[in-house]
């Protein structure tokens, strides 16, 4: 008798535990779904640099320089040694005149190695008003003083 009684209460208990754990699982699922379903917010690729010293005030879109695209094709030393780009976002005062004369970006963007300066939209591609600086997802927004 005693054995049967404890079996019943054991069943009830296990049903109760099962219900609770499935409720918790449901709650977890709802929370997870709420977090993931709207989709992750967009972020720039790691080390994208926005140049906007003059663009906005000149009425063109700010420039995005994608490091990832360039480092697939060129080692760091090409731009940061040969072409004279400082290794600090904001430290390079590059003008369109200099680029047209073949300096900085213009060393390649001359219609021979890469597209020429006629293709404004390809470099001046950021949303108007985007602040200058180094951007990117994947665990960093850049060090404190970028």
């Amino acid at each position: 008798m005693g054995g049967r009684g404890s079996a019943v209460s054991g069943q009830a208990l296990s049903a109760r535990v099962k219900y609770l754990s499935s409720f918790r699982r449901m709650l977890l699922l709802v929370l997870l779904a709420a977090g993931i379903l709207p989709g992750s917010p967009g972020y720039a690729e790691y080390a994208d640099v926005v140049l906007n010293r003059r663009s906005d005030s000149a009425g063109v879109r700010p420039v995005i320089f994608p490091h990832w695209f360039h480092r697939v094709r060129y080692q760091c030393r090409v731009c940061h040694s040969e072409l004279g780009f400082e290794m600090r976002a904001g430290a390079n005062d590059v003008t369109m005149e200099e680029i047209t004369e073949g300096r900085f970006c213009g060393a390649c963007h001359n219609g021979e190695i890469a597209w020429s300066v006629d293709n404004c939209d390809l470099c001046h591609s950021a949303s108007p008003g985007t602040l200058a600086g180094i951007r990117g997802g994947h665990q960093t927004l850049g060090p404190g003083n970028w």
């Binding site: 499935s22 449901m26 699922l29 709802v30 997870l32 779904a33 993931i36 379903l37 989709g39 967009g42 972020y43 720039a44 690729e45 790691y46 080390a47 994208d48 926005v50 879109r61 995005i64 994608p66 490091h67 990832w68 695209f69 480092r71 697939v72 094709r73 060129y74 080692q75 760091c76 030393r77 090409v78 940061h80 040694s81 040969e82 072409l83 290794m87 600090r88 976002a89 060393a107 390649c108 190695i113 293709n119 939209d121 390809l122 591609s125 950021a126 949303s127 108007p128 985007t130 180094i134 990117g136 997802g137 994947h138 665990q139 960093t140 850049g142 060090p143 404190g144 003083n145 970028w146």
Partner: protein, 187 residues
């Protein structure tokens, strides 16, 4: 009787949520690493030029995987020949690869830093770091983690373009032997 129903509303909801979650997980995994330019919150989606630009995923998904930064192991990519980036544009300057490692041991009780010259000189010239950022003489540069987090010293690149500062163990990779670590407060 109730038990003849195939699904309770609760089970049905559970099932639907599971399906939605699985679908979103799969799309998340597929799209997690690289955002297309139209959706990166940086490029102007109205810009007609975007259709001519390469999306990060098109190039980077073919390279060795990493867990942070561009999600690309750039060192492996160049060493194993996945990419062959040019080392010069016009100047015919020979590339100088330096093999030596530097051990930085003023790290308190956390593992010491092994700085490998080799992987750095595969990308950079000596002049990119010396003498402006680092003195050539070992121990002559007052490097601190605080300064690095502010974007000085190693932080000029790491945390901005090279792998980020969340990856502690990649630099702090040489554990102290038993009894060798300096006592706390005496870094």
């Amino acid at each position: 009787m109730n038990c003849e129903r195939y699904f309770t509303p609760y089970q049905l909801l559970h099932c639907l949520l599971m399906v939605a979650l699985s679908v979103s997980c799969v799309t998340e995994v597929l799209a997690a690493n690289w955002q297309p330019l139209q959706k990166d919150n940086l490029h102007d989606p109205e810009n007609p030029g975007l259709r001519l630009l390469q999306n990060p995923g098109d190039a980077l998904s073919r390279l060795p995987v990493d867990s942070a930064g561009n999600k690309v192991d750039w060192v492996k990519a160049i060493q194993d020949g996945y990419i062959n980036p040019r080392s010069e544009l016009l100047k015919n300057k020979p590339v100088q690869i330096l093999e030596s490692d530097i051990l930085l041991n003023k790290t308190g009780s956390i593992p010491r830093v092994r700085f490998p010259h080799k992987v750095h000189t595969q990308w950079l010239d000596c002049e990119n770091c010396h003498e402006k950022i680092f003195k050539s003489k070992a121990g002559a540069t007052p490097i601190t983690m605080g300064k690095i987090l502010e974007g000085e010293y190693c932080g000029v690149c790491h945390g901005a373009v090279a792998f980020p500062l969340t990856e502690c163990n990649r630099c702090h990779s040489v554990p102290w032997e038993a009894g060798e670590a300096p006592s706390v407060g005496r870094p």
